[in-house]
């Protein structure tokens, strides 16, 4: 091991002291005493420096450069350097922390950091505003102790990636969405967003559509009525037959659109699941299939029942799910093609599937076709008499039955629409006989 240079001066000093003591001892005699004196002086020197060091470490006093020499000067200088570095670093972190604080403070969404026990570790000012949290008292408290809505308590216990909507605990904020994002080791981030405006806009929109549809329906009934009697009237001139017929068809289409709109708004505003009433799906599918089989100039419709199960749900809603999907398939399949309806089980789930050899849907449009009034080919679907609301109704009605909609399609070859119902909605035939009795 080689010692750094600065130690040389220290050894030199020690050697000097001892040398001087020996020399004086040889000159005056009593070298033992001289040596002891030299050691004492050296220890005194070291103690003084240790005392200085202690003071430096204690307070923030600096040792002037001229007060020490050699190794000790070096040590004090190094302490100074380390201190300065630490000070700068601290300043930098302070600045960084302040910037982070300021930016999270400026966020309009609330952010709360939770530990594994759901205790609040940190939150930003927006969380204070939205949830009425108090920075002085709420750190360390459990979040579900302060945001106590039963839905939220259940959500916090088992978070899903989907955010949850709960009424705000404060009176001046209406609705909040909360999303829990796990990160790091057992840490969770809760993001709180004020959606009062969205909720009220959505409600206004829904109310408007519902009211408008209702208000439009009665005048339309009058118009349809007169058109019907006009069409039957033998006295009107021949040239008016075609226009009256067209008016009748359009009036009928309008009635259908209004009926679908009303149905859709009803499904949207009913937030709870459909009531679990026993629905004999097989009988219902037979009826639907027969209806489409009867008409001419249509693709052939076949029904394949592979499972003897029924569903628990709302009869009218299930009917509109099945009817709309079959109706779509028939409308978009050329008369030479075929439409097959399948009712089967896959594991615990019951699956309704309609496979057609129709025109298909371009892949990039599949995610959008359940939007209201969305049309893959506007000219064609209108000509075939659609309202543009069928699949939107299917989507909402399915949601009320906890079902999922699957769409597979190849353009030009055909499509397959499948609705899968979870085990909780499936009833077995045994149940059917019981209910029938």
């Amino acid at each position: 091991m080689t010692l750094p240079n600065r130690w040389a001066s220290q050894f030199a000093a020690l050697a000097g002291w001892l040398g001087a003591a020996l020399l004086l001892g040889w000159w005056f005699g009593g070298s033992g005493w001289w040596l002891a004196g030299a050691f004492a002086a050296y220890v005194g020197h070291v103690l003084r420096n240790v005392f200085l060091l202690d003071r430096v470490l204690d307070g923030h006093a600096r040792v002037p450069l001229f007060a020490t020499r050699g190794l000790w000067a070096e040590i004090f200088a190094r302490i100074d350097r380390v201190r300065a570095k630490a000070r700068n670093r601290k300043k930098k972190y302070h600045r960084l922390l302040r910037e982070v604080r300021e930016s999270t403070g400026a966020l309009s969404d609330g952010g709360i950091i939770l530990n594994a026990d759901h205790e609040i570790v940190w939150f930003n000012p927006a969380a204070t505003r939205l949830l009425g949290l108090n920075p002085a008292t709420d750190i360390g408290n459990r979040l579900d102790n302060l945001l106590r809505h039963p839905d939220f308590v259940a959500y916090l216990a088992e978070p899903t990636p989907e955010p949850i909507t709960v009424p705000a605990p404060r009176e001046d904020v209406g609705w909040l969405t909360v999303q829990i994002i796990p990160y790091g080791k057992d840490q969770r981030l809760a993001i709180v967003r004020d959606i009062t405006r969205e909720v009220s806009l959505e409600r206004t929109r829904r109310d408007f559509v519902a009211n408008a549809s209702h208000e439009l329906r009665s005048p339309l009934t009058v118009i349809s009525g007169y058109l019907d009697s006009l069409a039957d009237d033998a006295e009107i001139p021949q040239s008016w037959h075609a226009p009256v017929g067209e008016m009748q068809r359009q009036a009928e289409r309008m009635t259908r659109i209004l009926r679908d709109l009303i149905e859709l708004t009803r499904l949207e505003s009913a937030d709870e699941g459909a009531p679990p009433e026993f629905v004999d799906v097989i009988a219902m599918l037979k009826l639907i299939a027969r209806e489409f089989q009867a008409a001419g100039h249509r693709p052939s419709v076949s029904l394949k029942i592979e499972a003897d199960v029924a569903l628990l749900g709302s009869e009218s809603e299930l009917h509109s799910i099945f009817y709309n999907i079959v109706n779509n398939a028939v409308r978009f399949t050329p008369p030479a093609g075929s439409v097959q309806i399948v009712w089967k089980t896959e594991g615990d789930a019951a699956v309704f599937e309609v496979i057609d050899t129709g025109i298909g849907i371009p892949e990039e449009q599949i995610p959008r076709i359940t939007e209201r009034f969305y049309r893959v080919d506007p000219g064609r679907s209108r000509a075939s008499g659609g309202t543009g609301l069928g699949l939107a109704i299917v989507k909402h009605a399915l949601q009320r039955h906890e079902g999922t909609l699957g769409i597979r399609s190849v353009e030009g070859e055909g499509s397959a629409f499948s609705c899968s119902f979870p085990a909780s909605r499936v009833a077995y035939r045994g149940g059917a006989t019981q209910v029938a009795l």
């Binding site: 709420d138 579900d144 106590r148 009176e171």
Partner: protein
């Protein structure tokens, strides 16, 4: 007592048990708050279905009371808690009783709201009831917040608010009498709405009780039936003592 004070037990399990009881009480409080919210919504929206649903869901509140009650008994029997832990358990036992009663009143409101939904409504759509309900809801919310934060100042605020609620009830009651004398055909409706106001006023009283338990739990002082002035003085004194100690 601070929230952290609960963290001083050698047995971690004991700690967890106490924390769990506390959270359960607040979860029950959340459920009761929701019940009350829905019952009042049933009144304002004239939604008889919702009102009856609330009445039906009261069973959930009752079940929670039973389970928390059992847990408290178990803690008392097996841990023999002392000092602030004992106060927590006692305050919990009393709080859940009051919460359960609030649940019962919410059930009553649900039933009354369902009945009122089917008869003619005054042009104000029961504005005074909605006002009273807003204040009572704020009281329940405040009392549960005080319980969660062990915040005696917050508890005091709720206790103070109870007088205003009592006055509001009084004026609804008098108004009802006037209406009934003017037009006897409204008697059954006014009776129902007065009963509803009465239920709301009772909920305010229960919220006030919970706040008194919070003061007991934190400061170890029983302030029931001692009057607002005395409660105020106790809280002030206890807070000052605590501050000087820390």
């Amino acid at each position: 007592m601070e929230v952290e004070d609960l963290g001083h037990h050698i047995s971690r399990k004991f700690n967890e048990d106490l924390e769990h009881v506390r959270s359960s009480v607040l979860a029950m409080g959340g459920l009761v708050e929701e019940q009350l919210d829905r019952a009042i919504k049933a009144l304002t929206d004239a939604d008889s279905e919702l009102g009856l649903q609330v009445a039906e869901d009261d069973i959930k509140v009752n079940r929670m009371e039973v389970s928390i009650d059992e847990e408290c008994s178990r803690i008392l029997a097996t841990r023999a808690p002392t000092a602030s832990d004992l106060r927590l358990v006692i305050a919990t036992l009393k709080t859940i009783t009051d919460l359960e009663r609030i649940g019962d009143e919410a059930e009553k409101i649900g039933v009354l709201a369902a009945r009122l939904a089917s008869v003619e409504r005054p042009s104000t759509n029961y504005r005074e009831l909605r006002n009273l309900a807003r204040h009572v809801k704020a009281m329940v919310h405040g009392s549960l917040n005080a319980f969660a934060r062990l915040d005696t100042k917050g508890a005091l605020e709720v206790v103070k608010a109870d007088d205003a609620v009592d006055e509001e009830y009084e004026s609804i009651y008098r108004q009802g009498i006037t209406f009934m004398m003017e037009d006897p055909r409204t008697i059954s409706r006014i009776m129902d709405s007065t009963w509803l106001a009465r239920a709301l006023e009772r909920i305010g009283d229960h919220a006030k009780n919970i706040c008194e338990y919070v003061i007991f739990m934190v400061h170890g002082k029983d302030v029931r039936y001692t009057g607002l002035k005395n409660i105020e003085a106790e809280v002030e004194q206890a807070t000052r003592r605590q501050e000087s100690r820390s």
